[in-house]
């Protein structure tokens, strides 16, 4: 929620100040992840070479750091304050940026607002917000008021008003102050803000709008104030607490009082945590929103052109109503609906993207600095902990006991993305070569040397931070300690001062010579594939991508096609033309040649190109409808078995013959309805174990399989996907395949697949300090022994969820270390060990946990766990489970961390204020809906299994932009127009909207779009002319140019070319778009407001 928390006051000023400084902080969210940039340049995805480590990519975007003053910042200010408080401790310190914070600081405790990011509203509020500040939504909507700090956040608008209260903030949150009629009013206003998430947003709107609000806001704030105490405590950190009270005003009123009380409790806690580093971010995020909305008000002077984003606008009117009505609604359990209607949807918490990147130091003042939201744009300075891109924890403080964790109802898990793409401005990972002896390791747990190993006894011994064992320092690694107890050479040795380093692997890490880079392409040439153009698209994509393969003699390629038989090609140069070798026995396959099927690229380039040109015509007249996918990959595997490598399969129809043949289960399921209802989820399980067995064998021989499904029918992705999942690959899904629009994406996907940073024959293990142990890993890999995961291939996009459990108590105040070691071979044949370290403080305080919760990571963890359940449980159960996870966390917070006694308010921890929204979105996502095609759902949960945190959020809660007016934005920093909440209220009939989730992009045409806009953007003049297939084109007009810029920026951010679909109202395509409006009530679930009411009621029930 919006709680932008920054403790209020500073905002204005802060904003201003911060802005400049902050810039770093805020990232505009992804304005551009460099990576993206690299990748996507214009249609093309990245640049190839990124080496694994290579840090430097040319990032087009320079923006990041500099953003300073963008209007946005203004909004932040608010945030900043919060930041400042908590912030300081963490990373902030380092940053100069902080400075701005300064002012805040003053307010805040010591934390110096390290400025980090504080100011910046990070787009996603929550993340940062480790802070606890619960945001209370005022009744339904949230009236989220922020606790003190919250305020600000809360409505930004309110914030505006709030400022004054800042002082109050501390107490907190107000937000809710429901009651207060008056307050309510304010609340409402606040709420408004909140709703949008916005409190901030609201605020913004509000502000401008009217003085009216201000007062209310103010009012509210005061109440808030108290809570703030809690908040403050936390707030300091972030302040984002928002509490939104679901309950309408009524609720709110009661709440207020409670809040304060609550706050009190917290305060203690909060105080304890002054440093909650995390917080800074949190606030920022929110602040961002506010910024936009709020800023104007706040910073009048500041630029905000956009203030009124979606959020703000409507508010005014609503607020009032909401306030009044809400209370009743809340009060009456029976009538949530009515209540809901009263809630101002614009005030509910929503993610707010930030525009500029922030600089983030991983440790500050010898303690871990909570990371910015995964979805934000940030630049990491590795000061001991790893970059959060590589590894981040669901909670940035580790509960000392399992009981405490259980009480919080949160997940404790790491999301590890060991090859993650760094920001172009970040330092590359340093490579350390220990020579033949290999890296220094703990002799007991085999943990690698890292900055948290403590050297003692003049450096002669060191204590392992993972297992506690005292080892002798190897003689040639000895160094004396300085007065601070650190080794004197600590700062010169990357392994002693960086969270992430890469060791050169010595002989003992190799069971064989590092494997060559082998790429084997396998193309479906069955009748359907050829006739739909899929074969031609695949061949052309491969042909174009050949030049992107790594240079050198270590690169080998092979190619095969298949229909009802498998066709290999002998690419040996001596032959006048390639020789086609057919393997007809598809029940028991084999490779037709030992040597010449896979050849050095340099030796066969011409043959390969010729062949790829010929393949589509060669099979033009084929009448073979059958496809032996299973047999083909097995055969290709056999050809690659001696080396391992990447197997890229282009599959277009249901594998119908040969090993692992599949049946059209989906159709069978439809005809047998009674069974299908009950056992529907069985269709999401692999049909049999054959492919699984094969996959395990592939993994064992280091063959990583990616499958590009270019189909127009059911292909049983549930079964097929087992192969890529187990081998560290992934499924790409083009349904329904279009020869017009899909080849470009296919090419770009393939190119990125091959050129992105990646490694082969990898093994990964995560080690934890004593007291915590790894419970399980989940992601795309093969696990043969419990402690390690085998990755035939690992690349920058793959993320692994590592769930943790306690096996002992941790010491409060101590740190808990995590170390992820990834042994892999680079595409150039070097064997490396990438070691990623994270050390987090341990705490006994529940409130600390809430304050330091990492929303994006928590939610990603939910998402992945839900994805795991989908194939094994009935849908209803999965949805209930997800909802309950959300409810339990909020319940725990409500029960133990909030003092509110009234049941009228829904109180949300600031850090997790978006959890209900995301949960709702998840319930309505493609994977959890029952109206989806089986393959779509299979693809969805498979896609999720390896999905990284920054992409997980948009997958369930996509971004939507208006593009009919992209030419109207002012020439400020951000290419991207403001995002729009996913609610049909925000979709106008005369607008054109772009909605993207990182993979797909929908362009929606309202029914009365101006024909000249259509003409400019798409080249046709009537909505009736909207074609079914779409190819991006740039016309020579600013609108079109801007639109293209927007799309390219998104592509860069997502490392994905995006699959476009055109949707128009009243059409099935329009339904697809409508189903993405997750905040609307539809067949798949309640509206956002209703959902909040539902949650609130559930919590109330459990409380009583």
């Amino acid at each position: 929620m919006a709680a932008p928390v920054p403790p209020g006051a500073p905002r204005p000023g802060a904003n201003a100040r911060q802005q400049s400084p902050h810039p770093n902080f805020n990232p505009n969210f992804q304005t551009n992840p460099n990576s993206l940039a690299d990748n996507m340049q214009n249609m093309n995805l990245n640049r190839p070479h990124s080496m694994p480590n290579s840090g430097p990519r040319p990032s087009p975007f320079g923006q990041p750091p500099p953003f300073p003053q963008s209007s946005v910042t203004a909004g932040f200010p608010v945030a900043s304050p919060p930041m400042s408080r908590p912030g300081p401790p963490p990373g902030m310190v380092g940053r100069p940026a902080v400075i701005p914070a300064g002012p805040l600081q003053s307010t805040l405790p010591a934390n110096v607002p390290p400025g980090r990011p504080v100011g910046l509203p990070v787009s996603h509020p929550p993340p940062f917000g480790s802070r606890p500040p619960p945001a209370s939504l005022s009744s339904s909507t949230g009236g989220a008021v922020l606790p003190s700090s919250a305020f600000p956040s809360s409505g930004v608008s309110s914030a505006a008003a709030a400022p004054p209260p800042p002082g109050t903030r501390p107490s907190s949150f107000v937000s809710s102050s429901p009651l207060i009629g008056g307050p309510a009013g304010p609340m409402s206003s606040a709420r408004a803000g909140p709703s949008s998430n916005g409190p901030p947003a609201v605020g913004a709107g509000a502000l401008p709008g009217a003085p009216q609000f201000p007062p209310p806001a103010i009012v509210s704030q005061p109440p808030v104030g108290p809570p703030p105490s809690m908040m403050s405590a936390r707030a300091p950190a972030q302040a984002p607490t928002m509490r939104s009270v679901l309950g309408s005003s009524a609720a709110s009123s009661p709440q207020t009082p409670p809040l304060p009380s609550a706050s009190s409790p917290f305060p203690a806690m909060t105080q304890a945590r002054p440093p909650p580093p995390g917080s800074p971010y949190g606030p920022q995020t929110w602040s961002m929103q506010p910024q936009q909305g709020t800023q104007p008000s706040h910073i009048p002077g500041s630029t905000h052109a956009q203030p009124p984003r979606m959020f703000g606008m409507p508010q005014q009117a609503l607020p009032n109503q909401a306030m009044t009505n809400i209370p009743p609604a809340l009060g009456q359990p029976g009538a949530p609906m009515s209540g809901s209607s009263k809630i101002d949807p614009n005030q509910i918490p929503r993610p707010i993207p930030n525009a500029t990147p922030i600089v983030y130091e991983t440790r500050h003042g010898n303690s871990a600095n909570p990371p910015p939201p995964a979805t934000s744009d940030y630049i990491v300075r590795d000061t001991g902990n790893c970059s959060p891109r590589y590894m981040r924890c669901t909670i940035n403080q580790i509960p000392c006991t399992g009981d405490l964790l259980t009480t919080s109802a949160m997940q404790l898990a790491l999301l590890v993305q060991p090859m993650s793409l760094p920001h172009p401005s970040e330092d590359p990972i340093q490579v350390v070569d220990f020579g033949e002896s290999g890296p220094v390791r703990c002799s007991r747990c085999k943990g690698y040397i890292n900055p948290f190993m403590k050297f003692i006894d003049q450096g002669r011994k060191f204590i392992c931070n993972l297992c506690g064992f005292t080892d002798d320092t190897p003689r040639d690694y000895h160094c004396n300690l300085g007065p601070d107890g650190r080794r004197r050479d600590a700062d010169e040795r990357p392994e002693l001062c960086r969270g992430t380093v890469e060791f050169v692997a010595s002989k003992e890490y190799m069971v064989r010579d590092p494997m060559p880079a082998v790429y084997f392409f396998l193309i479906d040439v069955s009748m359907n594939a050829v006739q739909t153009g899929a074969t031609a698209a695949a061949c052309s994509a491969i042909n174009q991508v050949i030049s992107d393969l790594p240079e050198g003699t270590r690169t080998q390629v092979g190619i095969a096609t298949f229909d009802s038989t498998i066709h290999f090609y002998n690419l040996k140069r001596a032959l006048q033309q390639p020789l086609m070798l057919i393997v007809p026995d598809i029940q028991d396959v084999y490779t037709p040649l030992e040597t010449d099927v896979i050849v050095q690229l340099s030796e066969c380039r011409q043959h390969l190109e010729l062949l790829l040109e010929n393949i589509p015509t060669m099979f033009q007249t084929s009448t073979t409808a059958e496809s032996c996918f299973g047999a083909a990959i097995k055969a290709a595997f056999l050809a690659m078995k001696s080396t391992g490598g990447k197997l890229l399969v282009f599959q277009s129809v249901l594998p119908s013959v040969g090993i692992g043949a599949l049946s059209s289960r989906e159709a069978e399921g439809r005809t047998n309805i009674s069974a299908s209802e009950k056992e529907a989820h069985k269709l999401l399980q692999p049909a049999d174990k054959i492919l699984k067995t094969m996959a395990i064998e592939f993994a064992e021989y280091q063959v990583c399989v990616d499958v590009f499904v270019t189909t127009q029918t059911y292909v049983d992705i549930a079964s097929i996907s087992v192969i890529p999942r187990t081998t560290g690959g992934q499924v790409y899904y083009y349904y329904p395949f279009s020869a017009v629009s899909d080849p470009a994406k296919l090419y770009n996907d393939l190119r990125w697949n091959i050129t992105r940073p990646q490694g082969f024959e990898a093994v990964m293990r995560v080690r934890c300090s004593q007291g915590i142990q790894v419970q399980d890993y989940s992601g795309n890999f093969c696990k043969r022994i419990p402690t390690d995961v085998d990755l035939a291939g690992i690349d920058c996009d793959k993320c692994i969820l590592v769930t943790l459990k306690h096996d002992d108590k941790l010491q409060d105040g101590s740190e808990c270390g995590f170390q992820c070691a990834l042994l892999y071979t680079t595409v150039y044949g070097q064997r490396r060990i990438r070691v990623t370290n994270l050390s987090l403080p341990c705490t006994n305080m529940l409130s600390n946990l809430f304050r330091s919760a990492d929303l994006d990571t928590q939610f990603t963890c939910f998402l992945k766990q839900a994805a795991i359940e989908i194939p094994t449980c009935p849908l209803l159960q999965v949805r209930d489970h997800v909802t309950n996870l959300c409810i339990n966390i909020l319940l725990s917070y409500r029960k133990f961390c909030a003092t509110v006694s009234s049941t009228g308010q829904l109180i949300l921890p600031e850090a997790l204020k978006l959890l209900p929204l995301y949960t709702l979105a998840l319930i309505k996502s493609r994977g959890l809906r029952n109206d989806g095609r089986i393959d779509d759902r299979s693809f969805w949960f498979n896609y999720v299994s390896s999905l990284s945190t920054p992409l997980a959020i948009p997958l369930v809660y996509p971004r939507m932009f208006a593009i009919h007016n992209v030419d109207t934005k002012d020439g400020d920093e951000s290419v991207l127009p403001p995002t729009i909440p996913l609610s049909s209220e925000h979709v106008c009939d005369d607008g054109i909207y772009l909605l993207e989730n990182g993979e797909d992009a929908l362009i929606y045409f309202g029914s009365s779009v101006d024909s000249s806009i259509l003409q400019q953007l798409f080249g046709f003049t009537s909505v009736d002319d909207v074609p079914t297939q779409f190819v991006m084109q740039q016309f020579s007009n600013p609108l079109s140019k801007n639109f293209n810029d927007v799309v390219n920026v998104i592509r860069q951010q997502r490392c994905s070319y995006l699959r476009f679909a055109l949707c128009k109202k009243g059409d099935p395509s329009g339904m697809a778009f409508v189903s993405c409006m997750v905040e609307d009530k539809n067949a798949n679930g309640p509206s956002y407001v209703e959902f909040l009411v539902h949650i609130h009621r559930q919590i109330q029930m459990k409380m009583s």
């Binding site: 290999f568 057919i582 007809p584 037709p592």
Partner: protein, 772 residues
């Protein structure tokens, strides 16, 4: 009986019989020792055989064809079958028959006639009759050194040029895996790869090549005729007329590499001969039934992969020897034989032939493959290298047209009818029993038995079969005996000739019954020693293969003694009184040489060679087979015309050149003096032209033999005391050995052996024959 004297002992019928007069009872027959056997070359061409453009009349009861021995009632228009005495009416088109107007088959001299049969004669346009093109599928081993592969490629290219244009050609190459080349695919060279280590059924081959029922399913609704046409188009992807695919095949051969799968040091190449052959067989299985087709296997080494494996890949394990086989220490042998046996069954059911050209220094598994080659009537050639004249000459010969043509025919079917009381025990030779039971089928089986009909998938004009008969044990011979003093045998052979025409040849024989209990004289005069020797050799070989514990030498000796006891004239226990009728006089010597031959003394040869020798022994005519047993020796000298010489070491002389024809090899042996003269170059001096002629004469004769013969024999030219001279010495009677050569004359030679000489053999024989 010198073969020189009688150039055509077989006559128009191409038949030789061990006994030309048959004893009347089973007891008497077994007392004769030498079995009743007929050796027949079923389609040997003879200028006197008439070809009739119509189908023969068949007896409605025993189904024998009308022949010269039938009694004809011209007025009643009835003929009486000589075999079963069934009275048959002549059909309307024989209405013109009279004593002066006989159809050809009733002429007494035409005991053999040929009928030209056309399945669907088109009266309007006889030339338009669809001809079945012959099909040739080459199966080429690629596990060999480049040089050998080069030889075999060029041989193949040559062969392609010699094939008739309409002949269909297919190509399979193999090494670790078997590659079926799709010749009809023009975009790119396309090859179906079959793994080498997995047995594969015909159905699987068809399905995997896209020729199976699955592939044809879409046309299931079509009428039969079309469906046939469709399956044909499928096959035509792989089998193309020679004229269409010669270019493709040539360029394919140009690019063909030796097998690319790595061979570990110390290992044999991995070679899946078995799979390659079953794939080729399966491919042909998609041809229309009845199409004549042959698989020509060019094999350069032992099968080490998959079914048909004869030896492991480990080079430290030698290929099985006769000793291993004896001791049952050849772990792969039985399994491989079983595999080839099933392959043979499949080929026979399809009517297709397997030819084997094996060229290697070591064995390649002919012993195991023998069953498939022999049952299908395939050709077999064993050489040391694809560059050797034995291979090159034979291979070229196979495709030659005209005079030199082997006359390769397809899809032969042999049926035998015989008089009552005669039982057929079986056939030794290149054919397969069709298990057609009948009253004339004996319970005792020798060779391919239990039948009165045999399939000969491949046969040529020199193909020869040995049919073994027995006399019914029922003692009713008296009554019918008086009625019939003649016995009748009829051989009906139908086949597809090289032009694709369907032919039927009918040979009807009659011989006399005698009551040998009364007198053996008639019997003695009806004895054919040469034929008897060859039949004994064939039976011995068969027994050696079939019976686990069989002492061939002992068995031959005992039979020879029994023959001599029965037919010799002597006083009991007086060896010196022993004399033998001239009709038997050569027989003991044949037996002596047979005992020493490669057929009995197998331990001097590899199992492959033995199998090779035996296959040829079984399919060659009596004359040639006799040469295998007892080589002919001709001596050339200044003093006389070339003349036959005794097969004895005593024939060696310093001033002679000897020409030994041992069938498989031909040795030109220069006496010491001759060799010296030649080395000094006298032959090139004009004044010594005579010497030059003398040197050339044996070469000219050798060439004549070589040209006639298939497979081409190995020519060895050697000098006395040279190392190659062993090829001659091994065949000579060791009358002079280091044991007894006290009075050696200059220029003569001795043989270093402990083998007994013919003289000693005779002495012992006489002694034993007269024992009571």
């Amino acid at each position: 009986m010198s073969e020189m004297a009688n150039t055509d002992p077989e006559g128009i019928d191409a038949v030789r019989m061990t006994w030309n007069v048959w004893p009347r009872t089973k007891v008497e027959a077994s007392a004769c020792v030498i079995p009743l056997a007929v050796s027949i070359a079923p389609i040997r061409s003879h200028p006197d055989i008439p070809t009739l453009p119509y189908a023969p009349l068949r007896c409605k009861s025993c189904f024998s064809a009308l022949n010269a021995f039938a009694r004809v009632d011209f007025t009643a228009k009835i003929w009486i079958c000589p075999f079963c005495y069934q009275r048959n009416h002549f059909p309307p088109h024989y209405a013109m028959i009279s004593e002066t107007n006989l159809p050809c088959e009733l002429y007494p001299q035409y005991t053999t006639v040929q009928y030209s049969l056309q399945a669907n004669p088109d009266p309007n346009n006889p030339s338009n009759v669809p001809q079945l093109p012959p099909v040739f599928v080459f199966v080429l081993d690629t596990c060999m050194i480049e040089e050998e592969l080069g030889f075999v490629k060029s041989a193949m290219k040559q062969a392609l040029g010699l094939l008739p244009e309409h002949a269909l050609v297919g190509f399979v190459s193999f090494g670790t895996q078997a590659h079926v080349h799709e010749l009809g695919f023009s975009d790119i060279s396309k090859v179906y790869v079959f793994r080498g280590n997995k047995e594969i059924s015909k159905e699987q081959v068809l399905e995997q090549l896209g020729l199976g029922s699955a592939g044809r399913r879409p046309t299931a609704g079509y009428p039969k005729g079309l469906q046939n046409g469709h399956s044909n188009t499928g096959v035509n992807r792989f089998l193309l007329p020679a004229s269409d695919c010669e270019y493709t095949l040539n360029s394919l051969l140009d690019e063909l590499q030796t097998d690319q799968w790595p061979v570990q040091p110390g290992n044999r190449a991995s070679r899946c001969t078995g799979v390659a052959l079953s794939v080729a067989t399966g491919l042909l299985g998609a041809c229309m039934p009845g199409t004549g087709a042959r698989i020509i296997a060019l094999v350069g080494g032992p099968c080490t992969e998959g079914p048909g494996t004869i030896v492991s890949k480990d080079l430290s394990e030698p290929v099985r020897s006769h000793k291993d086989l004896d001791k049952d220490a050849a772990p792969y042998f039985k399994k491989a034989v079983r595999f080839y046996d099933s392959l043979a069954k499949q080929l026979v059911s399809q009517g297709h032939v397997l030819d084997l050209f094996a060229s290697a220094l070591d064995q390649v598994g002919v012993a195991e493959m023998k069953v498939a080659v022999e049952r299908t009537g395939g050709l077999v050639v064993l050489a040391e290298s694809f560059g050797h004249s034995v291979f090159k000459g034979s291979f070229r010969r196979m495709f030659k047209d005209g005079e030199q043509s082997l006359g390769l025919c397809f899809n032969g079917l042999l049926e035998i009818n015989c008089s009552k009381d005669i039982k057929i025990q079986g056939v030794i030779g290149p054919c397969t029993s069709l298990e057609k039971k009948g009253p004339n089928v004996s319970d005792t089986v020798i060779g391919e038995g239990s039948t009165s009909a045999w399939k000969m998938c491949g046969l040529d004009k020199s193909t020869c079969l040995t049919v073994l008969f027995d006399i019914s044990s029922t003692e009713r011979s008296n009554a019918p005996g008086t009625a019939n003093s003649q016995l009748y045998l009829q051989f009906l052979t139908s086949y597809q000739d090289p032009e694709g025409k369907r032919m039927l040849r009918v040979t009807t024989l009659t011989r006399q019954w005698v009551d040998s209990a009364v007198s053996t004289e008639e019997l003695v005069h009806g004895f054919d020693q040469e034929a008897a020797a060859v039949v004994m050799a064939r039976v011995t070989s068969l027994k050696m293969e079939m019976e686990d514990v069989f002492d061939a030498t002992r068995w031959l000796d005992r039979n020879l003694i029994r023959v001599c006891s029965k037919f010799g004239e002597y006083r009991k226990d007086d060896a010196s009184s022993f004399t033998l009728n001239p009709c038997f006089s050569l027989f003991p010597q044949f037996m002596f040489n047979l005992r020493r031959s490669q057929f009995v003394q197998v331990f001097n040869n590899s199992p492959d060679e033995t199998a090779y020798f035996r296959m040829l022994l079984n399919r060659e005519n009596i004359t040639n087979a006799a040469v295998m047993i007892q080589p002919s020796l001709i001596s050339y000298s200044f003093n006389s015309l070339p003349q036959p010489a005794l097969l004895d070491v005593a024939s060696i002389s310093a001033d002679r050149i000897l020409l030994l024809d041992a069938y498989f090899s031909i040795v030109i042996f220069h006496g010491m003096t001759i060799a010296q003269w030649r080395n000094m170059g006298y032959q090139s001096q004009p004044e010594h032209q005579a010497f030059s002629h003398l040197l050339q004469a044996p070469h000219i004769d050798a060439q004549m033999i070589i040209q006639e013969r298939f497979p081409v024999p190995r020519l060895v030219v050697c000098d006395q005391h040279g190392s190659q001279a062993r090829f001659l010495l091994a065949k000579l009677n060791p009358s002079a050995t280091y044991n007894n050569s006290i009075d050696m004359t200059a220029g003569s030679d001795i043989i270093f052996t402990d083998d007994v000489s013919l003289q000693i053999f005779f002495e012992h024989l006489q002694k034993l024959a007269v024992q009571s």
